[in-house]
Symmetry: C2
Subunit: 623 residues, 2 copies
């Protein structure tokens, strides 16, 4: 397509963005209009993408990080022949695939965007897949706003991309100088962005983003810059928000609303057009098998580590060893860690499968984003850090759910049980955080064999799967051949005369067992349930225990809100009769102490459990 | 103190760090040893701090961002005469103030550290207080590790400090080249850090961190660089981890553990010393009253906005207007926003009190960190963004709790009720996130007058206070003189024959009222509770309702986990008899639709509530 036609295509994208927002009565046409030439040139001359086969592994990846500019993306899809005009005008309506911000309900959208500063970190994950795993020549294009360059997550990604020599990654920054509420920090100072990116090792090209020829040359240069060892490129483009319509162009107060007079705006933009862009289909150049990391199958059947009952092992160690074994059986399993693999024990995987291990350093947002990016290409990621530090990446976990991403996340060093390091290192909110994510699974094993089984089971689930591990060695309770279905539980103590049920998971299972033994000695038999599947929860087992014992005491190494106690209460929140409930949890702000002192100070040790059961059985209120 | 003495003082800090970790049997002596000269020179020659009066407003601020190097900090306190040797050796023991990572249990610690990458963003908040509010000449010193420079939050702060010309801020980077698990990305390449920081507008000084004279000159230069308009300085220091003890110096695998032979190490370091550093007391140079932002009192008594019952107003608007009024009555109230003040309506405060408003751009971690920093100096911050985007800052909220920080956080655009923008913009996990924070308060008003009262009440609470607001206008239900105590609730419908209770908050209160009216027409009277205080929750009112009606239905515009439903269930989790419970919540992944369509699709509108009540009253299980 010639430059005059590209300019016309850009105007068409503007017109269609204006029309879509006008039909919806909401949306972000002005943020779309600034990037129209960038999108037109990309679509018609640089993107290699088979819209008829979005699953083609050689397709380039396009991530609209400025997700509010969705009208531009949908106009681009229309120009590519992927959606028709009727669907374009269904924008933001109930049932339409064209949501306010893009989601993977559209087959050409790999990840949901709309929380700013996520496109580049996820793009880094995709580029890692292309370079290190798929070893295919696809390019990752991330179209970003200028406002979102203030997000720290962008700079985690900038650093990571440079360090990993991701020459297959191009960031396009649409510097339209206006954020939602007013001017950005740097306005049209392209060099402000350029010098920052160059300092991190990027190749940068500054252009007039409304000059199709200049943009075309910049994209050509970006593609050519992918040499050895490879350097990511940023095309930093000066543009005007609302470009082309005088009533809104370069003006404050025009963010996120339809144009005041769409009909006049369309006329000012030269009217509707019906240009169809011929998008280049990628040459499917599969790399020679010897150079590609083998994805399907491994060296043999799954041989999980086996631990002897009665011995002691930390669940975090079982995680690392099981993951290494899973990696041997499945070539599609990859692991990522945030510079604590010696603690999370992801190091076992790293040693066994170094070509499938990704070190993300102390950048937890990039850690989760890379996992999301890798899974778009069919890899099965396990991302680990301390449970406490996963809070750093909560927005990425939340958006992973909106992206329908399948990721495994593992948080170690859960709870006060870590001991002396103190509260900054203790995961005490992680169960709440992961339970609240739509479609998530939350697992919390208490022993090494159970951990190994759950690590393997996670790989086959959808959505965000979270596994919580603990620091200290714990007795192995279960044999290596026992099974632990997700959504299940295990009854560890039971008699015909149980007076109460103690529901525990992880660390507190061992305390509950000690308490049950002490209570039995006092003539108070209690049932003990190991609720290793915190979400989904075993409603049936809890209901049975409620019927048999009349009251349930939950005990968790977590703050009282959002964790095990809430999960158990929720099992009865469907109108059925509810047993009496009581909960022990970490209600204090911990300090430094030994693990045993911590459990005692927080009132979740065996002694506290036994005391609470006695009160509960005597019908005294326990709070 | 002369250079030879400074070198001796550095050795003393090493010796004491080694001894403290040895006594504890855990801790991070090697990470302390790398920064011994940096700490010694700072303490003895540059810090202006009255250890006898930590509340002196003119004191410099010292933030140990690499909080795991706490033995160094405690050794420094000992050298300053603030703690004695006996207390030093209580490190990490139960009851000791010398926790594994520093917390404000020590009067000289302003904020807890230990989650890396937080010291600089919080230091930015302190420096903003010094420059823009207190207008006092104190300096903020942040001692950071090199590994943590990978955290995006650091770069949010680097950008913010430069943009705000925080010449009163000095970052000291202890480049010891080794992270927890191995080498950092940049090793001893000081210029890798320097060029990045310079690109963001910082003044940088690269030094040998073990050369006390060079360090002294660097700190002098940093202090002198504080001209107009002011530029933050980074002292980038090459050091060796474990410096001074051959068994550990510059070696991998020596992170986070006591030295193998502490006695030999102390001997190698020249033995114990008892040098006492004379720390400079700050000249108390209070600025002329005319230049200082007046902290106490405002222009008059609190005159909250008043809304007419029956009119309509969005709670987010009431937030902004009430905060502006509060700012007029209280000179210590400040506001911060993440580039969405036109949406959160913090803009009302900004217009009324521009000198106390802080624009943080799209950098939510810096937003919360700045609030934490400001409150260390007695300011009362209100930080706002979309509820959805506060997930970006969860680790900072968590650490604010460990810091015993008093901050107000306000999340707008809660729930599916926002409508067309879709799930990326919907706060659906925020109640879970904030409830799980230790010592937090969670408020969720349904009308404008209630919002205004709660905004005022928040200022007087401790800990993390969260207020959830909604986008759309809603009917004003309450008069402007009604009171809404934190921990309370309001009964909006009640009869002597109520067959069930509907518990709602925010958006769903209005749906519950519509449902109650429809049910009353069908001969099914129900009680309706407005549970505006989600934490603490009104146990008494819920218990009364349970006794009177036998069953409770919660309805919330939030995912089912961790929010209103869990809060209500928790009210009965103390062994008392539990009513039948059912919950309506957002169990779907929303897409774009109108607010009304969203509430219906998620099953939380009036129609869904009425249907659920009928099932509950007929004792059908509702799930």
């Amino acid at each position: 397509m010639r430059y005059e036609e590209l300019a016309e295509l850009a105007q068409q994208l503007r017109v269609d963005a204006v029309r879509a927002a006008d039909a919806a009565g909401s949306g972000h046409p002005t943020s779309s209009m600034s990037a129209a030439e960038l999108a037109a040139v990309l679509l018609a001359r640089h993107l290699r993408y088979d819209f008829g086969d979005p699953g083609n592994p050689a397709n380039d990846r396009l991530v609209l990080s400025k997700g509010h500019a969705s009208p531009l993306l949908y106009a681009l899809y229309k120009a590519a022949g992927a959606v028709d005009d009727e669907e374009l005008l269904s924008f933001r309506r109930l049932g339409s695939r064209l949501e306010g911000h893009p989601t993977p309900r559209l087959p050409w959208v790999d990840v949901a965007t709309g929380s700013l500063g996520q496109g580049l970190p996820v793009g880094v994950g995709m580029a890692l897949a292309g370079k290190c795993l798929d070893r295919l020549p696809y390019r990752v294009w991330v179209l970003s706003g200028d406002s979102e360059m203030a997000e720290g997550s962008v700079w985690e990604a900038v650093e990571h991309a440079s360090y990993e020599h991701l020459g297959n990654l191009t960031l396009i920054v649409d510097v339209n100088r206006l954020g939602q509420r007013g001017p950005t920090r740097h306005g049209h100072d392209l060099d402000a962005y350029g010098k920052r990116l160059r300092a991190f090792g990027w190749h940068t090209i500054e252009v007039d983003g409304h000059d199709v020829e200049a943009v075309d040359k910049a994209f050509t240069e970006a593609t050519a810059a992918d040499g050895e060892p490879g350097r990511p490129t940023a095309v930093i483009a000066a543009t005007y928000k609302g470009r082309g319509v005088a009533a809104v162009e370069d003006q404050e107060g025009k963010h996120g609303k339809p144009l005041p007079d769409a009909k006049a705006a369309v006329a000012e933009l030269g009217g509707q057009r019906s240009i169809r862009a011929e998008v280049r289909i990628p040459e499917v150049r599969m790399p020679p098998p010897a150079t590609q990391v083998p994805r399907s199958g491994g060296s043999g059947p799954l041989e999980l580590p086996r631990y002897d009952t009665g011995s002691e092992e930390a669940t975090r160690t079982a995680y690392g060893q099981a993951l290494a074994a899973l990696g041997s059986a499945r070539g599609d399993v990859v692991a990522l860690d945030g510079e604590v693999s010696d603690s999370t024990r992801a190091e076992y995987f790293k040693k066994a499968h170094p070509e499938r291990f990704f070190e993300c350093y102390i950048a937890e947002q990039q850690l989760i984003a890379a996992a999301v990016g890798l899974q778009t290409r069919g890899w099965v990621p396990y991302a680990s850090s301390f449970a406490a530090f996963l809070t750093r990446a909560y927005d990425f976990v939340r958006m992973a759910s909106v992206s329908r991403a399948g990721i495994n996340v593992v948080g170690s060093h859960a709870g006060v049980a870590i001991g002396q390091d103190g509260p900054s290192q203790m995961g005490l909110e992680d169960l709440a955080m992961f339970r609240a994510v739509h479609g998530s699974t939350v697992l919390y094993p208490c022993d090494a064999n159970q951990t190994a089984r759950l690590v393997a089971a996670m790989a086959g689930l959808g959505g965000v799967r979270y596994l919580r591990t603990t620091r200290a060695a714990a007795p192995v309770l279960y044999g290596p051949d026992e099974e632990f279905p997700v959504g299940g539980s295990r009854v560890l103590r039971r008699s015909d005369h149980d007076k109460a049920t103690v529901v525990a998971a992880g660390t507190t299972v061992h305390e509950a067992l000690r308490a049950a033994d002490a209570l039995a000695d006092d003539g108070i038999p209690v049932r003990v349930i190991d609720l290793y599947s915190v979400k989904p929860v075993d409603v049936e087992a809890l209901n049975d225990a409620a019927g048999a014992t009349g009251c349930l005491l939950t005990v968790e190494d977590h703050h009282p809100e959002g964790g095990l106690g809430d999960a158990v209460a929720d099992a009865f929140a469907d109108g059925r009769p509810v047993p009496r409930l009581a909960r022990l949890a970490v209600r204090n702000m911990p300090a430094s102490a030994t693990p045993e002192e911590q459990l005692h100070a927080s009132g979740i040790d065996a002694e506290s459990i036994a005391a609470a059961v006695k009160l509960l059985v005597e019908r005294v209120v326990v709070r």
